[in-house]
Amino acid sequence: MPLVKNGKILGDAFVHVADDAEIPGDGAILISSTRFLGDPETLSRRTGKTGVIWPNNRDVDDLVPYLDRLAVIGLVFPTFRDGRAYSQARLLRERYSYRGELRATGQVLRDQFVFMLRAGFDAFEVKKESDAEAFALTAKRYSVFYQPTGDGRITALHRRMQQRHSESAGQ
């Protein structure tokens, strides 16, 4: 499954470690929320980078104490019809100021890229090769946005206000 980060297809530096496998001392790993919450203090302080795959039916509040020590948070789209992780992403980015990698996992298809970018995702485990290749083009599909989110894109309402101001300033 290709990983898209910063708009490019990259090799994944993180290794998925199963719940019953041994955790390496160093090296970048991704573990489950259950595993992580078993011993969050130790796991978030290991030498290597640590990331957590967080399920979409558990409040992200439980992650808040560890946010500045996590390299990756992977949120899950069990099917692309299930949009709970969009709310989790916005809360992590906008309310809890999480700055690490926010990765979309599960059924990640081309048609969700813009929504995901706007919600604060910056890495994507894309299901289909062709979708991953189309990422850069798809991400540019829209130039107008009606809602303010934490991604900083300016909304139509505010663009209009700016236009008004510049028009009245020019008079």
Partner: protein, 551 residues
């Protein structure tokens, strides 16, 4: 009318191109039908019994003549020459070809119409009072806020994959013509004790398998907080609404399971953390949207012009005027309802030729504006009273002057088994038969206001729960049967109707409705006691007796 600017136009064009790409990928096999299904639903495309059905949004029920002509063009060019107006201010085309859909959307986009989120598990078309901006008793024009909500809900990055569909309705009048109490979020503009204008926010209304009347979650919300509060509700719903069972996924079930107090507290906790955010609507932002609504410049005209005085001698004109013409906020003007319920016709259908003719009449008599109501009729919102006789003759000629607005033959019906893949039973032929039974205008007028609503299945698209008489099609051993409820209503006193007894077969529905109406005529206290008030006073028992005594 709201005028799209360059930003609005750019966005819908970008959406059309995205959909064109999605259709292309489906036709090439790159997308599976399962994947494509969700994508097409997000753009109003259903697969029905015979063909694809295409649902186009008419936000808050306002159309320009140019837009209506374009809908006629789509009906003619891509469909079979007609369209069907729905209970949620949409229009549906029933015979669209998938490969041609992107072109149809592109034609519509040129006049500022789209089909975004007219189906699927997202925020649907924002509906409002079809008399918005012209009703005499209005607090202010609810379309300003409807448009703000339309923009806010369009392609929302967080709420495009909700547990289930989500519908907003807004009213600003004492008398609720937008059925806000049967919506996921209902908004009522009103003035508080301090004289400030704001919203009563209702939540958790809905019909379908488990009908609920919406409950008040906030008695007064300032306009500036509208979007942040709505976002808080949607966020709570997106995270905690049930996704394990499609029939329990609407917000009404979450509100019911948590209880309104607990749900309100969850929303309040969320809202307090974000109310002062970029979502706050400053006065300047609201004014900017308001400034892009154009209003007619009304002339000073007499309330009783000579033309009306003369026409009053014609009983046909008078029957129509008394039935279909409503008071307007500007003296000398009127709101005219165009009945799309001709005797023997399918409720809510209009042909392309009718749409073109209505667009021409709107240009001539209504400042180029047309409205669409949830009762599946159209309206011309700014007609000079002196023009009423001429307008009536023209409307009569094209078959949209049946004087049955709000009467027993003004039936709301879903497409039913004639088109819909979900239906258990037919709706349209039942409606057609009822319009024939009650074709005599004097009889219908004697009966008075009576709303008949028909749904062909439990999904309740015909809003049968809130019909004064509700008819629900069910299937029993492979045959069509119908459950009859009475006493429902969808207005400010909304209530779900009560079942009167066992379901009756297809062939007996019209007889049963006639029995109910006869019972009402015998039981009503006064000629002006409405059917629904008689049912309220007496309960269903006397009606049950009358209907089942001989069955």
């Amino acid at each position: 009318m709201y005028a799209y600017d360059e930003l609005d136009r750019t966005l819908i064009n970008e959406r059309v191109e995205e959909f064109r790409d999605q259709v292309k990928r489906r036709l090439s096999g790159e997308l599976t039908e399962d994947e494509f299904k969700i994508l097409r639903l997000q753009n109003g495309v259903y697969l029905q019994l015979h063909a694809y059905m295409f649902r186009v949004a008419i936000p808050y029920g306002t159309l320009s003549s140019k837009q209506l002509r374009r809908l006629a063009h789509v009906a003619r060019r891509y469909d079979r020459g007609y369209g069907h107006f729905t209970t949620r201010q949409n229009i549906q085309f029933n015979w669209i070809k998938l490969a041609e859909l992107p072109d149809a959307l592109s034609d519509l986009a040129e006049v500022g119409i789209h089909a975004m989120q007219t189906s699927g598990n997202n925020t649907r078309n924002v509906t409002s009072d079809q008399w918005a901006g012209v009703a005499p008793d209005e607090v202010e024009d609810p379309r300003i806020w409807s448009e703000l909500l339309r923009q806010y809900t369009t392609l929302h990055p967080e709420f495009s994959f909700l547990p289930r569909k989500f519908k907003f309705a807004i009213t600003a009048s004492e008398h609720d013509r937008a059925a806000i109490k049967v919506h996921d979020i209902g908004l009522r503009l009103h003035k508080n004790a301090e004289g400030e204008t704001g919203f009563e926010v209702l939540v958790g209304g809905g019909l379908g398998r488990t009908p609920f009347i919406a409950k008040t979650i906030k008695p007064f919300l300032a306009g500036r907080d509208l979007l942040s509060y709505v976002e808080a509700i949607l966020r709570v719903y997106n995270q905690y609404g049930r996704r394990d069972n499609i029939y329990k996924a609407r917000i009404k079930i979450l509100v019911h399971e948590l209880g309104i107090e607990k749900f309100a507290q969850e929303v309040e906790d969320e809202w307090l953390q974000m109310r002062d955010s970029a979502l706050t609507l400053d006065d300047a932002v609201v004014e900017d949207i308001r400034s892009r609504f154009s209003y007619p410049v009304y002339e000073k005209l007499p309330q009783m012009p000579e033309e009306l005085r003369k026409a009053a001698h014609d009983p046909h004109f008078e029957a129509w005027r008394k039935n279909s013409v409503a008071p307007h906020k500007a003296p000398g003007y009127a709101i005219v309802t165009l009945s799309l319920k001709p005797v023997g016709g399918p409720p809510g259908d209009a042909t392309a030729d009718q749409m073109d003719a209505i667009a021409d009449l709107a240009d001539k008599y209504s400042f180029g504006e047309i409205r669409v109501g949830h009762e599946q009729n159209l309206a011309l919102p700014h007609v000079a009273r002196r023009d009423l006789p001429a307008l009536w003759r023209a409307l009569d000629k094209i078959g949209v002057a049946t004087p049955n607005v709000n009467l027993v033959s003004d039936i709301i019906a879903c497409p039913g088994l004639d088109y819909c893949s979900l239906a258990n039973a037919r709706s349209i032929p039942i409606a057609q038969e009822l319009t024939r039974r009650f074709a005599n205008h004097d009889t219908a007028n004697l009966i008075g206001r009576l709303h008949v609503n028909i749904s062909g299945c439990i999904n309740a698209c015909g809003h049968h729960h809130v019909g004064h008489i509700g008819i629900l099609g069910v299937e029993k051993n492979g045959e069509e049967f119908y459950q009859i409820t009475i006493g429902g209503r969808a207005d400010e006193n909304a209530v779900v109707g009560t079942l009167i007894g066992p379901a009756v077969p297809y062939g007996e529905v019209a007889d049963v409705v006639e029995d109910i109406v006869e019972a009402y005529l015998a039981l009503r206290a006064r000629p002006d006691e409405l059917f629904v008030d008689t049912v309220k006073r007496l309960g269903v028992e006397p009606f049950r007796e009358r209907v089942y005594a001989t069955r």
